[in-house]
């Protein structure tokens, strides 16, 4: 294992976060605060409680997931796409580094950034609402596995994308609707039966539901099922990556 290389890639990527501190950290904090003001304060006055949880607290896990998914996909894809775009990828490809080490470096950094921002949002949220975490281990499980698997997903997008439009397609167009329709701001019990059924096809519902359960012990679906879904997603991402490594798809062709 080329530990020096993993460290080099990881810290090189983390250095970018330091350089872009304002947009990386401050902007998610501001947007989360806005969500709390708009949803928590304005709409929350009318909804009061869902399943015994105050509305402001209820939406917190969903808000963290929204940012976690977009940040992890964004960082994971940009980290590998940018060297492809500028041409500096030649150096990584000509180094004595296995693809697993490349992934550990890039995806590790992307997941770390996502977790950092997720934690910042959690702390920001605690300024607005009373938060308690009923199952801390389960919370960390969902938090870390979601960050890792969506950073992997982002990495795959970064390898697949041929231009910036493709790079932004999924994080901008696919993820926000899935998160908004995945019960971030409501319980799916509040939807008509038809839309409840449709919601069950949305994988993000399971992530948010499981994550929320770890906080408040309330969920739309069985938390074990949520854990299974995230593990299945992780397995799919790892399988696709294994195929990419074997074939050199869009990297060594």
């Amino acid at each position: 294992m080329n530990i020096e290389a993993i460290k080099s890639i990881y810290f090189f990527e983390m250095a970018r976060t330091r350089r872009t501190l304002l947009q990386s950290v401050v902007s998610p904090v501001i947007s989360t605060s806005l969500y709390f003001i708009v949803f928590g304060a304005a709409i929350g006055q009318r909804i009061q409680e869902i399943n015994g949880v105050s509305y402001g607290a209820f939406i917190t896990p969903g808000l963290i997931m929204l940012t976690l998914l977009t940040q992890c996909i964004g960082n994971g894809s940009f980290g590998i796409y940018f060297p492809k775009f500028t041409g500096t990828i030649y150096e990584v490809l000509s180094s004595p580094v296995s693809m697993i080490e490349i992934v550990l470096g890039y995806v590790g950094a992307a997941a770390t950034k996502g977790l950092m921002i997720g934690t910042i949002i959690l702390l920001t949220a605690s300024l607005f609402v009373d938060l308690s975490i009923a199952h801390p281990i389960a919370m960390v499980f969902f938090f870390v596995l979601t960050a890792v698997s969506f950073s992997l997903f982002g990495f795959i997008i970064g390898i697949w994308a041929k231009d910036f439009e493709q790079l932004n397609l999924i994080p901008m167009l696919v993820i926000p609707p899935l998160v908004f329709l995945g019960g971030s701001f409501y319980s799916i019990d509040m939807l008509p039966p038809f839309w409840q059924a449709v919601s069950h096809f949305n994988p993000v519902l399971y992530l948010i539901s499981g994550f929320r359960w770890s906080f408040f012990e309330v969920s739309d679906v069985n938390p074990l099922f949520s854990a299974a879904i995230i593990l299945v997603f992780l397995t799919i991402c790892l399988s696709v990556l294994a195929w990419i490594f074997r074939t050199g798809y869009r990297l060594r062709n």
Binding site: I3, S8, F12, A15, T86, Y90, S94, S98, N253
Partner: protein, 308 residues
């Protein structure tokens, strides 16, 4: 001594169907400077990219110091440094960070003293804290060389390293190359500047259309294919070559003001002495005499032309 790089029957066909390499075989000796010459699209960069691990080969094998570049990539890639053709740099990184990154990527523990030496050798030391986007093209090129040398490679590939670099910088880069060779590093370079290959290389390889047309010792190549010309400027123009000189391989140029004599340097007799005597006998008055050896460029054009 076994070759440091051994390429056998290497082929590459891209997804588009383009055959970039068609069964290339080539041995590179330890410690030599090999210049690869070839027109654009000849397959030079593809060949280098496969040896360095950037592109997967379609067929054939490459061994570096006895290790297969695909199977034993860790051994081979840690021995190789690559300076790419394009000026690809991380615009927002500092010179120091980007060179240190390259060393780490090759699995070497940090060694600030070595990085300092490399940067000083390439006259980059005073720029070490500058961002790469602040540097000129020539400096970026030197940064790429510094990155390639950061992990102390035994084999260095320079893919057109002096393209777009001014004359003085080019000279200082060749001095660095000479120093590296003196320290035992094997150097493979591609260049469009044939006079550079002529000046610096030990051996010349010519590649065209995905095939190696020849690989030969530079001096042997020059003497084998090198023709020499004697140019005689005349005081008074001639209308035709005098009968008595017809046995010589002469051509009349410059409206009769100049005689050109082609001769073979490797022949036992060049015929110059007798030609000059014959000219004096024929009453031809000479103004000036000069000789010119055909350059590697002439040879290159001849080989590539014949291959078409």
């Amino acid at each position: 001594m076994a070759p440091i790089v051994s390429v056998s029957n290497l082929s590459k066909t891209y997804a588009s169907g383009f055959k970039a390499l068609k069964g290339v075989s080539l041995d590179i000796e330890q410690g030599e400077i090999l210049a690869l010459l070839g027109p654009n699209g000849a397959g030079k960069t593809t060949l280098i990219s496969i040896i360095c691990g950037i592109v997967n080969p379609t067929g054939g094998t490459v061994l570096v110091n006895g290790h297969d570049v695909v199977r034993d990539f860790r051994e081979t890639r840690s021995m190789i440094g690559l300076v790419p053709q394009e000026l690809t740099t991380d615009a927002f990184e500092t010179v120091w960070n980007t060179v240190t990154f390259s060393r780490g990527l090759h699995g070497k523990k940090p060694n600030p003293a070595h990085i300092e030496k490399v940067l000083k050798d390439l006259s980059l030391w005073d720029k070490k804290d500058n961002m790469l986007r602040e540097l000129s093209g020539g400096m970026k090129r030197r940064v790429l060389i510094a990155k390639a040398l950061s992990h102390e490679p035994r084999v260095l590939f320079l893919d057109e390293p002096t393209a777009g670099v001014d004359v003085s910088l080019r000279k200082s880069m060749w001095e660095v190359v000479e120093r590296l060779r003196a320290s035992g590093v094997t150097i493979i370079l591609t260049t469009h500047y044939i006079e550079e290959a002529e000046e610096i290389a030990d051996r010349i390889g010519v590649i065209n259309g995905g095939e190696i047309l020849l690989v030969e010792d530079k001096t042997a190549l020059m003497s084998k294919l090198g023709r020499k010309q004697l140019r005689v400027d005349l005081s008074h123009p001639l209308e035709a070559i005098p009968e008595t000189l017809s046995s010589y391989n002469l051509t009349l140029e410059g409206d009769g003001h100049c005689l050109i004599y082609d001769y073979d340097t490797s022949a036992e007799r060049t015929g110059i002495t007798s030609l000059l005597a014959a000219l004096a006998e024929a009453g031809v008055r000479l103004k000036d005499i000069s000789t010119r050896q055909s350059s590697l460029e002439d040879i290159f054009v001849e080989i590539v032309g014949a291959g078409r």
